[in-house]
Every structure is written in C-alpha cells, then in structure tokens.
Symmetry: C3
Subunit: 144 residues, 3 copies
C-alpha cells in the first residue's frame, strides 16, 4: 500500500481572521510558518459556504453555495505541494440553526466567522507532492 | 494571522464513563491529567444530546435537545482556559438509526453511552486563554 | 476515569488503494507498519458505503448500504487489539452530490474511490485490548 512514515514537526494553533476565505487562510497559515506538509483540523463558524462534490463518472467537481451562517462542525484536511505551491485539501461538515448537516469538499468561497485551527507539520523525506492520478482523475499524492 | 507554535505534551486516551455528561467528562479528564491546553477527538454513542447554534446576528446560542440514542459520529474540540478554569470547546456530528446527521456546538446535556477519546496536550508559552471578542461576541483565544 | 497516557510512536501517511474495502485497508495498513495501537483520521471519497447504528436497547448493530458515490467528508477512528488481532473502530460522515450527510459506524462494504489517511501510533504500556463490556454490550477497551 502507498504509505510512508513521517516525523512530526511543529504544532501550530491558529485563530483564523474574521472575514477571511477559509482555504486561503489555511494556505496563508502554512506559508507563514513554512509548513510544506501537514495535517489540519478545525472547528468554528462560517458566514457563508461553498462546497463541492466530485462526480466519479464525469470526473469533475460540482460546486454549490450555502448563503447563510453555519456552524463549522468539523474540518479535516491536509497541506501538501502541487506544482511548487501550497495545496490545501479539506473536507467540512457544516450545520444550520436546526442542526441539519451539509458536507463536502471545501471550495473557495467559505467565509470565516470564527475558526480555531490545529496544524501538525510532518517532516522527513521529500514533501508530499500532488500529481494527476489516471485511475480517479484527481490530483493525488504521487510520492507517498 | 493570530497563530502560535506549541510543543506537544502528553497523549491521553480515555474511555468516558457510561452515563456521564460529555462536556463535564472531557473537562474532568483534562483536570485529572493536569492538561491546561490540548486538542480533543472522540467517537462513540450518546443516550441523548443537546447541541447549539450560534446566531451570528443576535450573538446568542440557541440550544436544542435530541432525546434519543445517537451515534457520536465524530467530536472535534479543544481545551483551553477561561477565567482561571478549564474551558472545553467541542463540536459534534451525530447520527440516528437511519444515518441522518445532526451537528453543532456541544452543550451541556449530552449523555455518554460509550466514548473513546484522544486528548493531545500542548505546552510551551502561556496557556491559551479565552477572552471576549468584540467582532464576534464569542469567547475566543486572546493570546494565540 | 478510565484513562492512560501514551507515548507517540510513528506517524504514517497513506493513500488507500482504489477499490479496496475501507476497514480492511486500514487494518492492512496498521499491520504493514506493525502498529498495534493508534488513532486514524481520513478524508476522501467512496464508491459505495455500508454504515451501522448500534441499538442501545437491543444491543445489536443495524447496518444499511448506500449504493452510490459519496464524499468521505471525514473519518475518525482508532486501531487497537481484540482477541489477538488488529481491531479497527471507525466512524464516518459521508455526503452525496447535494451535500446531504449520512453518518455512522463504518461497517465492512465501504469501497474506496480515493482516501488520504493519517495514522498516529501510540506506544508505551500494554496495547489497548477490547473486551466485552457488560454495561453497553460493546467490545470496549478493558485496559485503558
């Protein structure tokens, strides 16, 4: 199985800026601390959200917006490299005022209301690099 | 961006007591091990639940109860300090017997059926302290 | 409270095989790296899913299938020992093309489309061992 053992690097705790774009803020945080590879977890709330679903047949993401305040019930994701830049891959579960959940791949367009985030750097060996995967059509880790 | 690098402290694994209040049990666990700051993850099941949604306009939490057995599909949260005491902030995704999900901010009143929990202590520098944040009306980390 | 402090062992990052059974792939990964106890987190997508809900009154799992592509919004779980073998306990939140969420206990029959997984080994003391728990009817950790 494609797997690799890493060493743990630094552990960053952050409060993301009110009004920031969620994905951009995570990438900016990684860049600010020089984290090339890492794991991300967060909770908080969003002012509005934009999520995506990957269509496994057409091999394209479909995106949709939720233009309302939402709890960020949980975000799980990671930071790696793609074409020489920081690539954030994150999934989120959101909930409205009745607790109804919406989930998916986090797209650009999620606006932070408040967000408490943990980023665990992983070091050792070549940084994880995303490359086109024929089997899925997705940019997966080619060197894990 | 408001962020800080921490050192990792101890790693606590726990089985929360059957019948305990979920939030109180997490706080008691942190206190028992002397953990001032940490990250929490858990899965399990609840006998009943009480979740909350933060209204970003009125700046008040609305709470509601789910008086039924539920899977605790996932809990993400953290432990920090507030007014000299242990403050647990946790979000949870729950599911009923049909897999329908409910999510939100964990309030007092979630009764543990079974729960497997991981708590990662974070040390170094001043413990994270919650203070009133004007922009959101929430008790966010003032010294991250 | 039943709790124990562990030391952190190795940190494994994996890309699970396309077409694999999710639970079997996690167990195989743990075995491949010799991880007896650990914590697991993952995101990705499934070709189809099979989840379960534990009925707290009848003390039996009810399983159901979702025969459609789904985002694996988030998986939280752990690896420990049961009857001398690797036991994976995982919960997952899934979402369809409209973002509708389904959640529960991960059963056999979840087929991986793509999956990025983090496994944190925990070492020190006796490995966590599952044993029948009278109070819940579940195989919980008897030596935490």
């Amino acid at each position: 199985m494609a797997s690799r053992e890493f060493d743990r690097g630094r552990r960053v705790v952050a409060r993301l800026p009110h009004g920031a774009d969620l994905l951009e803020a995570i990438a900016a945080l990684a860049d600010q601390h020089g984290v090339l590879v890492g794991e991300v977890r967060a909770i908080g709330a969003l002012q509005r959200a934009r999520l995506a679903f990957y269509d496994q047949h057409t091999r394209a993401y479909g995106e949709w917006s939720l233009d309302q305040p939402l709890e960020l019930v949980g975000l799980l994701g990671n930071v790696s490299r793609r074409d020489g830049a920081t690539a954030v891959h994150a999934h989120a579960t959101l909930a409205d005022h009745d607790g109804v959940c919406f989930g998916g791949h986090v797209a650009g367009g999620c606006t932070v209301f408040a967000c408490e985030l943990f980023l665990q750097e992983l070091v050792g060996g070549d940084p994880l690099e995303r490359a086109y995967d024929d089997e899925t059509g997705l940019p997966l880790w080619g060197n894990v």
